[in-house]
């Protein structure tokens, strides 16, 4: 009599309908199966099946767009974690921030990842724009994607600006006071836009709640939609930019 060994268990698992639904083809070993593996997977299909040789030349793009997207993901995850401990209320916000840093396990780490990630993202998005500009990569057929990119830069700055108020300390309060005063000088609807943004005539509870909602839902969602378009346009406009 023979007992079933670990090999039999592997075989049973690999022949089960669940395994065969998750891994629809064997490990790719040929060109064709490698292409299929990328095309048939919802996560991998975002990548091109084949890339041009220059695409792996790191020093052409410095992966600045990729780093920006990575930072966006880091900020999304750390931001989600911070939301468990932060209440956007004028009486609690500052204490909550202090408590995250002082008494939550890894809280100071997560908060600093979020803060430094935000600073870095503004920097990398800016450098990405400079790189595209000096390579002339905004020229047709990529002119539409340049415009999408400019909107993404604006959204990044707005995310940074709205997040700045949330600690509800002195620097946050006065920075937003100054920032929204500047909005009053906008042509035509200046005072109205400031009034709308603040939810009143000065920075207060309404402002904190408005900035919080913009920061955690509205702006990230809009940015994600524009990112989808941005990445899709890269593929449609001939793949990652390289030397002409």
């Amino acid at each position: 009599m023979t007992f079933p060994g670990p090999g039999d268990l592997v075989r049973v698992v690999k022949e089960s309908p669940v395994w065969r639904s998750l891994f629809r083809q064997p490990y790719p070993t040929t060109s064709r199966t490698r292409a299929l593996a990328v095309m048939n997977n919802v996560f991998l299909h975002l990548h091109p099946v084949r890339v041009k040789k220059h695409a792996v030349r790191y020093t052409y793009t410095f992966c600045l767009g990729g780093i920006s997207f990575f930072l966006f993901l880091v900020l999304t995850v750390t931001g989600l974690y911070l939301m468990f401990f932060y209440v956007p209320s004028v009486s609690r916000a500052y204490q909550d921030i202090q408590a995250i840093s002082a008494s939550v396990a890894f809280g100071d780490l997560v908060r600093n990842m979020h803060r430094w990630g935000a600073h870095l993202m503004v920097l990398t998005v800016f450098l990405h724009m400079i790189r595209v500009f000096y390579h002339g990569a905004y020229k047709p057929p990529r002119e539409f994607n340049w415009v999408v990119g400019v909107l993404l830069l604006f959204l990044t700055l707005m995310l940074s600006f709205t997040g700045y108020l949330l600690p509800w300390d002195q620097i946050a309060f006065w920075a937003i006071t100054v920032g929204t005063q500047m909005a009053q000088y906008a042509p035509l609807l200046g005072p109205q836009s400031s009034f709308f943004l603040l939810g009143g005539i000065e920075v207060g509870q309404n402002t904190l709640l408005r900035f919080y909602v913009l920061h955690v839902i509205f702006l990230p969602l809009i940015a994600a939609i524009f990112m989808i378009v941005h990445f899709w346009r890269i593929r449609k406009d001939g793949g990652i930019s390289g030397p002409v």
Binding site: Y81, F84, A105, G107
Partner: protein
């Protein structure tokens, strides 16, 4: 023992069929798995509730003078209701004199709070207001019987939390008290189970001996 083209005879067991590529692939899987576990562990640590300052932590009730200023009847035996920790803070000598009719005033019951001392001989008791029957909040001492009488199903306890009547399986649960200088501090991280039915160290009246607020 196997023979290798370059090295000649190779000692030791044959390492099998695994190629370098599949080894790297498996190690990548193991690495990603370990990182995921670490991340999961960190997430659990991050989200684990921190009970400092609320029920579940060390709670400073205050000095005897603080309690008397909050609730002046404490010195004549009325248990102090400390809402944040959901407890009755009983001035034991004063409460005993309230029940036995000697009506003494005890401004400061003292510092005999050690759990080694019999509850009836301690200075203070921190009784958890959650009824050990089904968890209702026990109201303030009934002024007809000088017992704690639960409104939900009529469980009745003496001022020291010993069960006298009703469906509860034991006396009122309690917390250990420590002195921090002259400040009473209650350790709500550990619930001390109430005394079993039949415990009668003080107040031997039965339910039929007097009027009640409940039942």
């Amino acid at each position: 023992m196997t023979t290798h083209a370059s090295y000649g005879e190779v000692h030791g067991p044959n390492v099998g069929e695994m190629s370098r590529r599949s080894f790297m692939r498996r190690m990548l899987g193991v690495g990603v798995g370990l990182l995921s576990l670490e991340f999961l562990g960190g997430t659990l640590a991050f989200l684990w509730p921190n009970l400092t300052g609320g029920l579940g932590g060390q709670i400073e009730i205050g000095t005897a003078a603080d309690i008397n200023s909050q609730q002046p009847a404490w010195k004549t035996g009325e248990p102090y209701i400390y809402t944040k920790a959901r407890l009755f803070f009983v001035n034991v000598p004063a409460a005993k004199s309230l029940v036995d009719g000697s009506k003494q005033t005890v401004e400061d019951p003292g510092t005999d709070v050690s759990p080694d001392i019999e509850p009836a001989n301690r200075s203070v008791l921190a009784l958890y207001r959650k009824c050990p029957h089904l968890g209702c909040q026990i109201p303030q001492l009934c002024d007809k019987s000088e017992w704690f009488e639960c409104l939900c199903h009529g469980s009745k306890y003496t001022v020291l939390g010993e069960k006298r009547d009703g469906p509860a399986p034991r006396g009122m649960d309690r917390f250990d008290v420590t002195m921090n200088g002259d400040i009473y501090t209650v350790d709500t991280s550990k619930i001390v189970t109430g005394p079993p039915i039949g415990t009668a160290t003080f107040d031997n009246r039965g339910p039929g001996d007097m009027q009640h607020c409940v039942g």
